[in-house]
């Protein structure tokens, strides 16, 4: 569905240096990115701000032309066949709406029908289904500018799906949403992928999205693809430590038992990192034997820590892109 081969995008940035002089610097937003996403996959695309996520999305959708390398989406070249491709993909930008600010949602969706030349019957049927699934009924006649962020996002999702695209590209779809709306949106996307077989690529900073939805994760950092694979392997690769949280009866010196590293303390509560390959049960038993413990709990590393560690420590060499892929099933 998506094939990127050695794609690079560079921008020339002109900065003022002195009164009239300007310096030109070439900024590489994406550098030699290659990956393949098969039909029916659900892929998360992560990276810190400015890593090149949005640039990649813009090249996939034909908004930007790559400086070099080849991009194929649904068998088309996005930069040359942008409008043909537009009929086959749906795009949602979380940060800004693709709807018309001053029009009621209902009219915005009517405009979408004409833009994509959707058959009136199909449009009515899909719209009814989406209204039902995303619960748009209460605010269909409200101008888009008056919608809450969550309502607007549901409207944007509807607008992107009315033409029944094969691929849905989402740029930070859950940004700023409350817990309930997030859950609605995630549930909806999971169902869309599972039942309609729609391929989904989403960028996010919310690791909940990734853990809940994505079987495959790609991480981009400084314009380079740094990881491409399953979630489990990402956890293992980052060698994330499990954390033992110990509540002592009273504050005391750092706990010392074999196999753990003291991290920090807050009153009687202490955080201990368990090294890889150490048996947690033994550690718990040791701590309980040597100290007066009020409570104890073990925390698995969450993906957030894993990614944070990866960003900080610099990333290992890119994994082969086929690895961890769910495969071209689902169609």
């Amino acid at each position: 569905m998506i094939e990127l081969d050695n794609v690079t995008k560079s921008f020339v940035v002109r900065r003022r240096a002195g009164r009239l002089r300007r310096t030109r610097t070439v900024v590489l937003a994406c550098e030699g990115i290659s990956f393949t996403v098969g039909a029916g996959e659900f892929v998360g695309y992560l990276g810190p701000n400015g890593a090149g996520k949005s640039t990649t999305i813009k090249m996939l959708t034909g908004i930007l032309t790559p400086s070099s390398g080849s991009v194929r989406v649904a068998g088309l070249d996005p930069s040359r066949q942008r409008t043909t491709l537009a009929r086959r993909i749906g795009v949602v930008f979380g940060q800004r709406t693709t709807l018309w600010w001053d029009l009621p949602l209902r009219d915005s969706l009517a405009l979408v029908r004409h833009l994509y030349r959707i058959d009136a019957h199909d449009h009515r049927r899909r719209l009814a289904a989406l209204i039902d699934l995303l619960d748009l009924g209460p605010f269909l006649d409200t101008p888009v500018r008056q919608l809450s962020l969550g309502q607007r996002m549901r409207g944007d999702l509807t607008a992107a799906l009315l033409h029944d695209p094969e691929l849905l590209v989402l740029d930070e779809p859950t940004i700023g949403l409350d817990v309930v709306t997030k859950a609605t949106v995630r549930g909806f996307l999971a169902e869309l992928n599972a039942e309609r077989g729609t391929t989904v690529l989403l960028t996010t900073h919310d690791l909940g999205d990734i853990e809940r939805l994505c079987r495959r994760v790609m991480i981009i950092d400084h314009g380079r693809l740094a990881y491409d694979g399953g979630l489990d392997r990402l956890r293992a690769m980052a060698d994330a430590e499990r954390m033992l949280v110990v509540d002592l009866e009273r504050p005391g010196p750092p706990v010392e038992v074999p196999g753990v590293r003291f991290v920090r303390a807050d009153g009687p509560r202490q955080w201990l990192a368990i090294g890889s390959g150490v048996n947690a049960a033994t550690v718990v038993a040791d701590v309980a034997a040597r100290y007066e413990v009020a409570d104890i709990s073990l925390r698995e590393p969450d993906i957030e820590d894993v990614v944070a560690r990866l960003y900080r420590s610099g990333l290992p060499a890119p994994a082969p892109s086929a690895d961890g892929r769910v495969g071209s099933t689902g169609w």
């Binding site: 921008f11 020339v12 640039t55 813009k58 959708t61 034909g62 908004i63 930007l64 032309t65 400086s67 930069s79 942008r82 409008t83 043909t84 537009a86 009929r87 993909i89 795009v91 930008f93 940060q95 800004r96 709406t97 693709t98 018309w100 001053d102 029009l103 009621p104 009219d107 009517a110 405009l111 004409h114 833009l115 994509y116 030349r117």
Partner: protein, 267 residues
Amino acid sequence: MASALRVYGLLAWTWIRAAAQYPVSMVLLALGTAVVTGLDLAAIALMFSRVPRIAGYSAPEVMFLYATSGLSFALAEIVLGTAERLGQHVRRGTLDAMLVRPVSPLIQVATEEFSPRRMGKLIPTATVLILVLPRLDVTWTPLRVLLVPMMIISGFVMFAALWVLTAAVQFVLIDGHQATKAVTYGGGFLTQYPLGIFGRDFVRGLTFVIPLAFVNWEPSLYVFGRADPLGLPTPVRFASPLVAAALCGVAALAWRAGLRHYRSTGS
């Protein structure tokens, strides 16, 4: 082309339907636009209440130029007036949303907030044209009659091309919308007057550089049976459609170049 017009019509119609939810405001706004447009006319009428001729041109002649230019301009503004917002869309990033849709962003910008209010501009100019035609002191030959719709249509196409050009410029000069207004609205304003009242070099500029003289001035000279102050040969009076076509070509190239620039640099 046909499908582009069809999409334009559908989008414009959707916007009109949305505006029609407030019918009173729609009618009032259209009337307001008509009144404001008519103010220029009042100024011209006021001048002629004092003197019978301005720089040798009679009141019907000046009114004829006002009406033909105004009609062409109003038509172009109705169809493409909002194209001048392109810079805003670049700045706000809403252009990206337009680029992921299967319709030219130019059509999307141009139909934005399409409202019958835009028709308000047609009322005063069309009225003046109808009133002034029988008052012109000319012998109406078939050629003269034919020149009137020709200049209105050519003028409309030229102004439309100018609007696309100014939109294209905003791909690069994102905040250039005030400067580009000078070209479109300034052009509309200039051609309302007999160019003969301006300096010769200025008129040369309007003939050969920004060919606004072909909107109505050159063909009108033939209608009035006057000699060209610049001394250009008679066929030039009929060159408006060619100039309009050429200007369209330039505008199309500029638009493509602008879009290509945007897509290689981003916002």
